[in-house]
């Protein structure tokens, strides 16, 4: 994070609606930044500027802590043609993210300290945002033997996951939860019971039937989440459920939480905002006649896009706190992985740059809850009070949002190296207009820089 080390002038971000639920704060205010840290939040207009101070007019804008993503695929090492730390951070800052957690499904996998250390060194040099590594649960993510979880914890991983692949063995999942329980780090299991369905293309249901595609039922997810919360209960382990996609899963997590199980959960912006009808390639419309644009591979992901019933249950779960956080599952893929038949296509869509717009503009979730889910939610799961907050003394990671500004998702404007999103050419809002990491501006939506006065 070379940029973060730079010295900056003291700065006041004036007159924005400051939304920081870590302090229960939501009011118009000035945010004062000195050096790399937030110094104070003041009543608007009360801060006097000294020589050399800069001022950012945030009137009519929203000022939030920098977003934290628990679920980013950096594709490095091993698939650098899809994404690299530099391009992932270019995507992150455009979406208002200042901390991203790197998933371990790399080649080689992040299943030992050497691989993790090498990746962190690379990120230190190339990424403009903070990168936190997630280690593998099992060696090579093969689900056979536990990875050295303590070695990985010492190397700084913030959680464990075999992401993309579930830990199918209940025995091994139980041991993983038990072995890591006293580390305080979440074990994150991709919930997809492959014993129930091993090969699939999209959600099981009306759209799959019409398209003749192989379906993945909701139960393939909820069965495994049910197993995992039971195992978390008997081990006192720390379970985190990634990308919850079904109504039944939400209900199981709600019940587990009410029983005191140490479980947290995330939902992706795309599962909150769009449904299986997007596979038709018409931005969610159901065509009377299937044309050549049906079978949109950019709408293929794991877990798959589900139905409106699931979507509503996810929104309800986020609203009542059953779901703790919003995580992007940013999954870049090259054209060769997506310009093919639907069955051949890789799972995943990019998500960092469209996360806020999907949650607020498309799913219509209240923006304060969305910011909470992108800041306090992940920081409490990471047990890291230095991110996702504007508390005085913390690093000045700040995101500024224009709530009314529309933008069109177009491939030449994306920071990510990959462009696999069904939102291409779709117009959304709101827009992140400026992002700061440690007080340094790393993103400005307009060419002439930020709106300094």
């Amino acid at each position: 994070m070379t940029n973060v080390q730079k010295q900056t002038n003291p700065m006041v971000i004036r007159n924005g609606r400051v939304v920081d639920s870590s302090q229960g704060f939501d009011a118009t205010a000035d945010v004062v930044v000195i050096g790399n840290a937030v110094v104070s939040i003041e009543s608007p207009g009360t801060t006097t500027l000294s020589d050399g101070w800069t001022e950012f007019d945030a009137g009519g804008k929203i000022v939030a802590p920098g977003f934290v993503d628990l679920h980013t695929h950096l594709r490095t090492p091993g698939q650098e043609w899809k994404e690299e730390p530099k391009t992932a951070s270019d995507a992150a800052v455009r979406g208002g993210f200042t901390t991203i957690c790197a998933m371990p499904n790399t080649y080689p996998a992040q299943d030992n300290a050497s691989v993790v250390n090498a990746l962190m060194q690379l990120c230190e040099a190339e990424s403009s945002v903070r990168v936190r590594p997630i280690g593998a649960i099992t060696k090579s993510r093969e689900g056979q033997e536990l990875a050295p979880m303590r070695e990985l914890a010492d190397a700084g991983v913030v959680g464990f996951s075999d992401d993309g692949d579930p830990v199918m063995s209940p025995h091994l999942m139980r041991q993983a939860l038990a072995y890591s329980a006293d580390l305080g780090l979440p074990t994150i299991n991709h919930a997809e019971d492959r014993g129930l369905v091993s090969e699939w293309d999209m959600n099981e249901g009306a759209v799959a039937t019409r398209l003749g595609l192989r379906g993945l039922p909701n139960s393939a997810e909820s069965v495994m989440i049910a197993r995992d919360v039971i195992l978390a209960k008997i081990t006192n382990g720390r379970l985190h459920v990634p990308h919850v996609s079904t109504a039944e899963s939400v209900e199981i997590i709600r019940r587990a939480k009410s029983e005191g199980v140490n479980v947290t959960a995330e939902v992706t912006p795309h599962h909150l905002a769009i449904t299986e009808e997007w596979v038709y390639g018409e931005f969610g419309e159901v065509p009377a006649v299937l044309n050549e644009h049906a079978y949109d591979t950019n709408a293929k992901m794991a877990p798959p896009l589900r139905t409106e019933t699931d979507q509503q249950a996810l929104i309800d779960g986020l609203t009542d706190g059953t779901i703790d956080t919003i995580a992007t599952d940013h999954a870049p893929h090259a054209d060769t992985d997506k310009v093919c038949t639907f069955t051949e296509a890789a799972n995943g869509i990019i998500g960092l740059e469209t996360a806020l717009s999907l949650c607020v503009g498309v799913a219509n979730v209240d923006i304060a809850r969305v910011i909470d889910g992108l800041t306090v939610g992940p920081s409490s799961i990471l047990n890291d009070a230095s991110v996702g907050t504007l508390r005085p003394g913390t690093p000045a990671d700040i995101t500024i949002i224009d709530p009314d500004r529309e933008w069109q998702v177009s491939s030449h404007k994306l920071g990510s190296k990959s462009h696999n999103t069904p939102l291409l050419n779709y117009t959304v809002k709101p827009k992140v207009i400026a992002t700061f990491v440690g007080g340094v501006q790393v993103w400005a939506a307009d060419k002439n820089g930020m709106a300094y006065v």
């Binding site: 759209v207 003749g212 299937l290 038949t341």
Partner: protein, 317 residues
């Protein structure tokens, strides 16, 4: 004559009932001409048609080739197993390569649903779907409409029993859409494991209303008073996938035989898209008996593909 709305034939859903009637009428003329003379036309002279098959096929591939040649087109057959697909060339690059050679129409069979749609996005040629995964088989549905109309006359209000592996069948999907457009009522019977999972409470995913297509738990219920019967092929790998106990039970419970056929209306014809597992989903005496119109389906297959190629290719080149 027809007024085509789409350049490609990806499924029957893009055809109106009038267009289907026109295609059937033209196919019938072709069939008559072929029966009466050594028919050879030059309607498609100078037009190049490639059949590109990624799955094994006898009747569909041969009938397209036959149809194209009878109309004077230059037909080239490409099978995946003897092409650069075997060297790992992608469907995209294979299609673009063939397109660059100046092909006018690509007739595609592929195991993945939506493959013809994908190819259609990337080539200039007209794409004719000759069967994609479990999705669609439009020319089969058209020849089935033709065959049934010949066998029983007016289709409107007729009841067709559709028996067997619906879930994985492209023929079932296209047949349901096409026959519904012609006003046929459809009674389905299949074990629950071979039905689409969302059909247990009625058929609602192919753009047809629930009441038009009924789902039954026994062959007897579906066949009773039917005007016609269509048996579908059972893929033998369904047993190893755990969807069926064994083929003997399937044959006993779901197979078409003379006792079950007796429940249908007298003279109700029996169809099968082929290839048959004779003795499994259909008994030998039915398959080759007087009520079978299975060989008519094959004959009509050539004539219908002539009508389709004429419609979609005559203005190309």
């Amino acid at each position: 004559m027809l007024v085509g709305s789409s350049k490609h034939l990806l499924d029957v859903d893009s055809l109106s009932s009038d267009q289907i009637r026109d295609l059937v009428e033209n196919a019938r003329e072709f069939r008559t001409l072929r029966a009466a003379t050594q028919f050879k036309s030059d309607i498609l002279r100078g037009i190049s048609i490639y059949t590109l098959f990624f799955e094994d096929s006898t009747r569909t591939r041969v009938s397209f080739e036959h149809a194209g040649k009878a109309l004077g087109a230059d037909v080239i057959n490409i099978s995946a197993s003897t092409s650069s697909v075997n060297k790992g060339e992608s469907l995209l690059n294979t299609s673009v390569t063939l397109d660059s050679m100046g092909v006018d129409a690509l007739v595609i069979r592929h195991p993945h649903s939506g493959a013809p749609h994908f190819v259609a996005q990337h080539v200039n040629a007209t794409v004719i779907n000759a069967g994609d995964g479990a999705h669609a088989h439009p020319t089969q549905a058209l020849l089935d409409v033709m065959t049934l109309e010949e066998a029983i006359g007016n289709l409107h209000g007729a009841k067709l029993a559709l028996i067997g592996d619906i879930r994985y069948s492209r023929v079932a999907r296209s047949d349901i859409i096409a026959f519904r457009k012609m006003g046929v009522e459809i009674a389905i019977a299949a074990p629950a494991t071979l039905l689409p999972n969302d059909w247990t409470h009625g058929v609602n995913s192919l753009g047809v209303a629930n009441s038009d297509v009924t789902v039954h738990g026994s062959v007897e219920d579906a066949v009773r008073d039917a005007d016609a019967i269509m048996c579908l092929r059972l893929q033998l790998e369904r047993q190893s996938a755990g969807l069926l106990p064994d083929v003997n039970e399937y044959s006993r419970v779901w197979g078409m035989n003379s006792q079950r056929l007796a429940l249908a209306k007298p003279d109700a014809p029996v169809m099968h898209p082929g290839p048959m597992n004779e003795g499994l989903e259909i008994s030998t005496d039915i398959a080759h008996g007087g009520r079978s119109v299975i060989t008519d389906q094959v004959q009509n297959g050539v004539a219908m593909r002539m009508a389709v190629l004429e419609h979609f290719c005559a203005t190309l080149g």
